[in-house]
Amino acid sequence: MNVIETTGLGKRYGKEWALRDCTLTIPEGRLAALVGPNGSGKSTLMNMAVGLSVPTEGSAAVLGVKPVGSRAALDGIAFVAQDSPVYRNLSVGDMLHLTRNLNRRFDDAAARARIADLGLPLKKKAGKLSGGQQSQLALTLALARRPRLLILDEPLASLDPLARQDFMTTVMTAMTDDGVSVLLSSHALAELERVADYLVVLSRGKLAVAGETDDLLASHRVLTGPAEAADSYAQRLSVIQDKRAGAQAHLLVAASGPADRVEPGWEAHPVGLEELVLAYLRAPGGAPAAAPSPALVSHIQPTEAAR
């Protein structure tokens, strides 16, 4: 079961494509991180997944349900939009009632227990809560709907480090306790590195790479060797990033496996997640769409330096 499946998904605002040619599959049970700089199409993809936005081309299915945004689809998804929108003039208690009344399924007892744990006064206006408390309230309301898929758009952006940790703890608990799948977007990768087990990288409205974090790490490596031999070597590899430092060259390459033969005079190192993502984001012109299979990555064009 895939929680999200898109085929050739694209969204155009006026003449600008916010997202294009996005073919993507996110399996169930993952904490999938949607990463990319601001304006790379993360919110666009999420809005289409929850039905707030209609695709210009292509199609999307969420939890196997088409069309997205239908009530059948919305029953299983909980979405917390950027800046956790709540009705600012409604009290915490009213937000609970409201969400309860707008959903077929709502675990009132769990939500109240969570609100009590967080120490949020039921009478306090949602608009008067701190940013972290608002996020926690929005998350609590979303989880009380008992979703199968939780979609969080930049939930950590406005939170301080402590609130970020609290927030992620709640998310992780929901995953382990209730088997919720999570799709979470962020422009800062560092805090997701340890928790994300699936990675979707968007760059300039294109899907740069997507796959299981472990697979991605296993299928990429950095080759370090003499710069003068790098150009000819690079032509035979799919180079994501080519860094030269004096006589040394560092090539971040996609390999079919760790057992690939390394040319004499070159050394292979494993790659870090952040390094990998940044390499894809820096790839000129945006990398072509890549499915979870690392094999597709070989279509990536040589970097500028390698040409």
Partner: protein
């Protein structure tokens, strides 16, 4: 906490039960999200109604004193008359103007922000992604708010109707006079419904409160002015050769003259020159004695057609409002963020 809130489901696990969507829940949602607006409207209209009652009692008293004053030509009565015409009529006229603007203002302040606020603050991203989707809650909110405001407006117009009674016998003033017709009977409530519907549609269309309010006021005024003219064409006009059509116990019972013409012997219409001569011949006479065979015809709407006209007007306004609300819901359905 409201009485409309459903009791909590027993037990922690509600997974097994997917509750249906009761309209009571939608009523609670509507009330909670719009109670500020509804209470404000109730407060403003309530305060205005209290003012109308207090001012109206004085005006009714003055009017009763005035018509009881005999003989009318006496200086004392003439003083009363001019006092009434100056002071009370000025007040009544001001209130009538405000009354004519009220549906437009309700449209701008209640209708326009109804959904535009959601889009402007971004809370639609919460509201439209809940399990019941976006259409049913939007329908509930539009219909319930519009209906409530319409009922409040109807109640208020009943107070105004009473307040304005002493002014109807004034010169040139009948219940069919454009500004009076709009604010009496059921027309006022119907215009309010139309105003709120225009506002809601404009708000959903431009997605910003202030521009939507401006559009609402503009569209309402154009529509209201067009309706003043349109009313002439309601199929209620009567043609008569009687010269007594305008005479009744008071001007409240006088008719709305739409036009007239003359016919000569044999029923042929007269040329303009002949008609002018005929008018000159009888000018200034109360009973116009035309030469044999010549008749003056009048096309007019008798005041007895007040209610049929009200129903026609309320009918098309209701249809218009229903169409606008349907279009608004369609926009909610279609509109992507």
């Amino acid at each position: 906490m409201s009485v409309l809130t459903m009791p909590a489901q027993p037990g922690h696990d509600t997974d097994a039960v997917l509750r249906p969507l009761p309209w009571r829940r939608m009523a609670w949602v509507t009330w909670r999200l719009h109670r500020g607006t509804l209470i404000s409207v109730l407060a403003v209209l309530g305060a205005a109604a209290v003012f109308l009652v207090i001012a109206g009692l004085k005006i009714h008293h003055n009017y009763a004193t005035l018509i009881a004053c005999k003989p009318f030509s006496s200086a004392a009565c003439q003083n009363l008359n001019s006092d009434f015409n100056n002071t009370d009529w000025t007040a009544g006229n001001t209130v009538a103007i405000l009354m004519n603007l009220t549906p437009a203002l309700l449209g701008a302040f209640v209708g326009a922000p109804l959904l535009a606020r959601e889009l402007e603050t971004g809370s639609y991203r919460y509201a439209w992604t809940q399990g019941f989707g976006r259409v049913r809650p939007a329908v509930a909110r539009l219909v319930l708010v519009a209906a409530t405001i319409t009922v409040l407006a109807w109640a208020f117009s009943q107070v105004f109707d009473w307040f304005f009674q002493p002014f109807l016998p004034q010169e040139e003033m009948t219940v069919l006079t454009a500004t009076v017709f709009d604010t009496h009977g059921i027309a006022f409530a119907a215009w309010t419904l139309a105003g709120v519907s225009i506002g809601a549609f404009a708000g959903m269309l431009v997605r910003r409160i202030i521009p939507a309010m401006a559009i609402t006021l503009g569209v309402y005024l154009v529509l209201a002015l067009a309706a003043w003219d349109l009313r002439k064409y309601y199929p209620v006009a009567v043609v008569s050769s009687s010269q007594n059509i305008n005479i009744g116990p008071s001007n409240r019972n006088s008719s709305w003259i739409l036009g007239g013409w003359f016919t000569g012997p044999g029923g042929k219409p007269l040329s303009q020159a002949t008609a002018d001569k005929l008018v000159a011949l009888t000018y200034g006479r109360y009973h116009k004695a035309f030469p044999h065979g010549y008749t003056e015809w009048t096309r007019y709407i008798p005041v007895s057609k007040f209610w049929p006209m009200q129903l026609i007007e309320a009918g098309w306004l209701l249809l218009l409002s229903a169409a606008l609300i349907a279009a608004t819901v369609w926009l909610v359905r279609r509109r992507a963020a």
